[in-house]
Structures are given as structure tokens and as C-alpha cells.
Symmetry: C2
Subunit: 346 residues, 2 copies
């Protein structure tokens, strides 16, 4: 049997799974941001017409899935797995959204790295011959997450410069065996990194080492340089974490500054209350669905590395004085016409 691995951590897909369609649904602040017009649906109401924020988040996630499936022209019977995760305890947004689909369901938890974990697993399932189509989705909601992780949003606590603003957004993607669309060329699943940061208001600093480790391993495994990618997207390190990540990679001899963009710095106008940038697994998911996927499909991007990062703490572990373990997963995405040939030096 063939083993489709290169180096220490990377899987390379001989037949590249295709991301045939995406869907994105966001809240009011995200809809008014720089990418506002690119999202499929933007609510003016943070509860998305439901009676609670939690129900609103579930509705947004379900709609992102429905939109992606409609664009791909597929129904439940065509989907072999639904992979989903979110920030809420027991990932209830995902499980309650999955309840409305008659599709085998696998729940994931990777905090803000979830869309990376999901896209990698979808690629494994499709490329391994276990699925025709896999739907991957992830969401976060400012009000459901803030009150769970920090304070009730009505409390109006003082934000610090390292704080990040949890987005209200959901993103979904259909990954299939064939069809048109950007493709998943390779995936590097990350290792847990913990450099001792214990401040839940400074997740960018905590996550930067995980991002740096995964990017470094991916480039080593693929025998590539940063310049082999048009853009390396992190999600979501924020302003503080992005600078640390660039420095960490610089110390390893990799200069990614000019190629590095962070989805946390793309979704909002950087007003003071946003502090260091956005966060929440809906951020990388919705920015990927609305912007990165579209740029790969149009040819504006030839090859991009998407590296969502997650902080794996809980309020309880922070109260107990633990530091924050983090993880980052990389998926290498190529535009429709690209090929491996001659580009992977093994």
C-alpha cells in the first residue's frame, strides 16, 4: 500500500480533492466590514431572527451549509460526511445544525483552527476513497462566545490591546472527488505547542508558536520556500500574534512578512474596540469561504497556504492557572488549473 506522506507531518494528495463550493453567513459588524459584500448573507440582527444568540449561531451555520450545498448542486444523499465544529461548550452549534441534515456527522474541536482541521480531514476522506462529497463547516458568535469564555457582553468590560473580537460568522465548504474549483494539494496537521502564555486576553501570543511550527514543518516537508505561495494566511493571530509569528519564523531563516496575511485583520475595519483583530473559528471559515476560495477560483491566487490556529484552553483551565496549549493546521490550496508536476521536490 502507498503512503502519501512527505517529511515529518505532511500528507500529499496524489489526486487532489476539489473544493467545489462554499457558503458564508455573517452578523452585522462583519457585514459592514471590508469584505461585507463578499459574504453570501449578512444579518442586521445578532440573533439572526431567532430567540437566542445560540439559536442564531446554529441558524447561521446551517444556512452556510445549505448555501454551499446549493451552489455545489448537491443534496443530503450526495454527502457522505458532515464535519463541523465551533467554540461553544459541547460544540452545540454544530450538533444542532447537523440535526437538520440526514448525513453522517463527525464533530470536531480545534477552537479557531477548526476550519483547517475540517478541510484536512475532508481531504483525507475524499482522497482516501471514503467519500464522494464532504461538507466542512465552522462558526463562532461574538455574544455566545464572549459570555462563555470571558464576561457577559452587557457588562462592557475594559478590553486590552491584545484582546481580539470574536466574530459572528459561519463558513462552509464542499470538498469532492471531482468537479471544478480550487483544490487541496497537501495538508500538514499541527502539534500542540505551549510556550507558557496563560492570559486568555492574549491568544495571539499564545498561538503564534503553533503557527510558526506548522508553517516551518510544511515548508520543510514540501521542500519549498515561502515564495512558492502567493499568500500565507493565518487565522487568527491578530496584530500582536502575527508580528510574533513573523519573528519566530525569521529566527528560523524564513521571511514570510511580505506574504503573510491574517484573516483577523481582513474582516473588520480596525477600530479601537477591535483591539488586536478578530478571532473565533467563524473568522477563518467565513473569510476562506467568501474571499480566499473565490480568489483561488478566479485565478487571482495561484497557490495559497491556509493555516487556521486554535487556542485550546477553557475558562476552567485558566482559572486553575494553566497555560494555553495551541495548535495550527495548514492546507495548501491551488487554483483550478494547477498541477503538482515539477513543483514538489521529493
Amino acid at each position: 500500500m502507498s503512503l502519501y506522506r512527505v517529511g515529518t507531518s505532511t500528507c500529499l494528495f496524489p489526486e487532489m480533492p476539489v473544493i467545489t463550493a462554499t457558503g458564508s453567513v455573517v452578523g452585522p459588524r462583519e457585514g459592514q466590514g471590508p469584505l461585507g459584500s463578499l459574504f453570501d448573507l449578512a444579518y442586521r440582527d445578532t440573533a439572526a431572527g431567532e430567540t437566542s444568540w445560540e439559536r442564531g449561531e446554529t441558524r447561521m451555520l446551517r444556512q452556510a451549509v445549505d448555501i454551499a450545498m446549493a451552489k455545489a448542486g448537491i443534496a443530503d444523499a450526495d454527502v457522505d460526511f458532515l464535519l463541523a465544529g465551533d467554540l461553544l461548550n459541547q460544540i452545540v452549534s454544530s450538533s444542532y445544525a447537523a440535526r437538520d441534515h440526514d448525513v453522517p456527522y463527525l464533530g470536531l474541536y480545534g477552537a479557531c483552527s477548526t476550519m483547517g482541521e475540517g478541510l484536512a480531514l475532508a481531504a483525507f476522506l475524499v482522497a482516501g476513497g471514503f467519500a464522494r462529497n464532504v461538507v466542512v463547516c465552522s462558526s463562532s458568535h461574538h455574544d455566545t462566545a464572549e459570555r462563555q469564555y470571558r464576561y457577559p457582553t452587557e457588562f462592557g468590560y475594559q478590553r486590552v490591546p491584545t484582546s481580539q473580537w470574536t466574530v459572528t460568522a459561519a463558513g462552509a465548504a464542499v470538498v469532492g472527488l471531482s468537479g471544478r474549483g480550487p483544490r487541496i494539494e497537501a495538508a500538514t496537521v499541527g502539534r500542540v505547542q505551549d510556550f507558557g502564555v496563560s492570559d486568555a486576553n492574549d491568544m495571539g501570543s499564545a498561538m503564534a508558536p503553533a503557527f510558526a511550527d506548522t508553517v516551518w514543518r510544511h515548508l520543510q516537508d514540501m521542500s519549498r520556500k515561502p515564495e512558492d505561495y502567493d499568500i500565507i494566511f493565518s487565522g487568527d493571530l491578530g496584530r500582536v500574534g502575527s508580528a510574533i509569528a513573523d519573528d519566530l519564523l525569521g529566527k528560523k531563516g524564513l521571511d514570510i512578512k511580505a506574504l503573510h496575511r491574517d484573516t483577523a485583520l481582513m474582516i473588520y475595519e480596525m477600530k479601537p474596540e477591535v483591539s488586536s483583530g478578530a478571532s473565533g473559528c467563524g473568522c477563518a471559515a467565513s473569510v476562506f469561504a467568501a474571499k480566499i476560495w473565490a480568489d483561488l477560483a478566479s485565478g487571482a491566487l495561484r497557490r495559497a497556504l491556509l493555516v487556521p490556529t486554535g487556542a485550546l484552553h477553557s475558562p476552567i483551565t485558566c482559572q486553575q492557572g494553566e497555560s494555553i496549549p495551541c495548535v495550527a493546521h495548514a492546507v495548501s490550496l491551488v487554483g483550478e488549473g494547477s498541477r503538482h508536476t515539477g513543483e514538489v521536490r521529493q
Copy 2:
């Protein structure tokens, strides 16, 4: 490309992944139960020598992994993925245990179905050619879970006959390409089922339809009868849920009563405080690791279906009046010498 699927929901592995070793670590009550002598390690102290129950749970999970890897004779460098999940918010037991291994990490959430989800995914990763060895693990802890889902354990609330007792236990398994040991023949990933049960003290009734749906689909997809399995294990329906599950399958013309065993009814002596039986994702994980795997390895079981079931609610969704969505995943396990040949009728 070949598609390794049969029927609506089942993947059949042409080269069956091997479960080369397992590890199990349990708390005091579990160590004194009917399976007590089979577990690799049983603590007399619910905090496992740590300063908090949460740290104790993490320690037990890490030790279950260490034991399984030691038995398999492998180190971190031989493991391509660590798949883990537990019941705590943000699956912190898993992520903190993963921090001590230099292995690519994928976090899962399937409540008590997690070991089923993990074994299925491990089989996909190994059989798809993406991993040499995958470590799968899951844990629960009576005290960390009860205070998170229901009441502080010191409160001593009145238990009802449908209540289940969350176990303090961790189980781990190494799934590989080759070697000796029981093998994973097929996996059926479940769909979310919700029949409207909203009582968090009656999870067995909530989960029974998910178990019945997955078992029914698995048998249909494989063109098999219940008798083709020596035992069909659920985990964990308890006394109440098991009876409902048998009835539901009976109405579909499948009589599994004589073949059905529930891991919730195997781990404890059924004293009054245990009520309907055990629960918690550590139950199916540790009973699989200590008992089911060993019986398949010794030849006492020729073929078994392991169907861990999960209730996917949270305390918040219960407070908001939502019903409990559930899921169950089936893995068909065969003893060392078994073959597909002539047994799968396609």
C-alpha cells in the same frame, strides 16, 4: 479511483487496519468493578495524585496513551496522528494530554460516542494511506463531568432511575497498517437523531434511536444479520436505553436482544446509586481497551460490532428548553485470523 463504500453509510476497508495495542486507566469505583483486574492501572484516588480532578483526568488520559504506545512498541516519531476527545468544555483533558506528545493532533467531540468516532477516523487515515500509526483515546471523569453538566458532586442531589453514573476512566488504542491484533473491518458513521427527549437525566432514552439507526444501517449496508456478530456492544445506553434500543430494532424486524451487551452495564456492579448504568466517553473507551480488544485478540470473540453512542447537548441548550440530539458510530471488529472473503455479500 476506487470508492470503498457500501450502502448508504458504511465504509469497508480493503486492507483492514490493525489495532495493535490498547491502554486503560480507571478510578477507584471502576477498579473495584467486575472488570477491575483487566484495566492496566486503577487509581485509589479520584484525583489520580494530582491537585485537581481536571488534572487527574488529563493524567489518566496521558497514561492510557503511554501504556498503549509502550505495548505497541512505538514512540512519538512512529505516530502520525493523535485523535482525542472527552466530555469537558473545550475538550481540555485531550488537548492538555496531547501537549505532552510531539504528534500531529486532531481534537474530536462526540460525547460518549467519541471512541467510535476516533476508531472510525483512525481506520480512514490508516487505510487511506495517510498514517503508519494513529493513536485514538478518550476519557471521562465522574467529578469533572458531573459538576459541569449537572450539580457539584458535594451537593449529593437525588438521582432518578434513569440517571447514569459518569465513569472515571480513560482508554487508548493504537491503530496501524500492519502487525498483530484485532482488525477494523468496516465503519458506519452515524447521523444525528433527535426524538424530542429533553431530560439530561435520561440520556439512554435520548440515545437509543441513534444506536438503532446506526445498527440498522450497518446491517443493511453489509447485507448481514445480527447473528453475523458474536456480540453487538452499545456504549452507553444503560438499562433503560438498552431496552428501548432493542424494542426499536425489534420493530424493524431485527432481534438483537441475545447478542446485545452495553458497556454501561459491564463496568460496575449494579448498585442502587448507579441507577440505569454507567456513562461517559471513558466507559466505552476503557471497556473496549481492557475487555473487548482482549477478547478479540484471544479469539474469544470472532467478530464484534462496537457502537458507542453520544448525547450532543450542553447545559445551556437544556436550560434553553432544547431536546437532545444524539449520534452513534459503529465499527466492525474482527479477530486476528478473520478475512472478508465470502462474508460480505455485495
